[in-house]
Symmetry: C2
Subunit: 136 residues, 2 copies
DNA sequence: TTCCTTGCAAATCGTTTGCATAATG
DNA sequence: CATTATGCAAACGATTTGCAAGGAA
């Protein structure tokens, strides 16, 4: 039950803190491996899960079948682009209101909320505009 | 590309319409099989995916690694109980406001929103109260 | 007849786990 | 020393897919 320090976990956490693009476990693995060549994917998964359970990071399930991880544990929404798959933070003021509203309407205890928005990011919108023009 | 009628798809859709508990593909399979013994899991998955793509049903990813399906395509949130895993509808008035707010703040196109709340349902709350009393 | 759909089984793939060894406290 | 963490590889499990046969338009 007690958690002991491990250099691997530290490196994983540091890497996650350095990124704002919500990398997958495999991306974490590929990057951490450059600094720590012997690390295994299993260790990466184990530590990501451990950190998530301790609330030090957040696990995102955006719907493409691959889990992503976010070192920012503050309450915020995410936008997922259906074009390129990028995931970006989307802080909204009304999250507190929504949570309060949900608590008022639901008979039970609500601890946590997770909200994802889907659509096309600016880059993908521009690309699709280019394509329409070209085809016209 | 053209969709042809199939009895299997009809049965799957009918079953989904009859349930409000957001069943998984396997639950759909087990139930549909009683009426249609030769149907295969692959067919169930194929049709659930097809119906989802056509917007006739909704695919939910509540975070336990198993997809769930909802014949109610109206805009509403879901509550997932961390105790028993049950999934219930949670309609909120403020969803429109939230979507509007997100669209205002985000540079890109937002098509769709998905919101999940997590906590303990009434039954699980009662059970945990029972356990505390018993242990006291 | 043409194209879509099915049943079956095998393949996929992200994630988890068992085990012997290494590191931590 | 007791306990937790690691690396490796095998296991897992939900979902997808290839293919030959069946059904709809």
């Amino acid at each position: 039950m007690a958690v002991k320090y491990s250099r691997q976990r530290q490196v994983i956490y540091n890497f996650l803190m350095s990124r704002k693009d919500h990398p997958t476990a495999d991306v974490v693995y590929q990057n951490v491996r450059q600094e720590y060549p012997n690390i295994s994917l299993g260790t990466v998964y184990r530590n990501l899960t451990l950190l998530t359970n301790r609330g030090e990071i957040q696990r995102l399930q955006v719907g493409d079948g691959v889990d992503r991880f976010d070192a920012d544990t503050s309450r915020h929404c995410h936008f997922i682009c259906s074009g390129c798959g990028c995931v970006t933070d989307l802080p909204l003021d009304c999250m507190e209101d929504m949570l309060a509203d949900a608590r008022k309407k639901f008979d039970g205890r609500i601890d946590r909320q997770s909200t994802y928005f889907y659509g096309l990011c600016r880059d993908c919108l521009n690309h699709s505009a280019d394509i329409s023009e070209r085809d016209a």
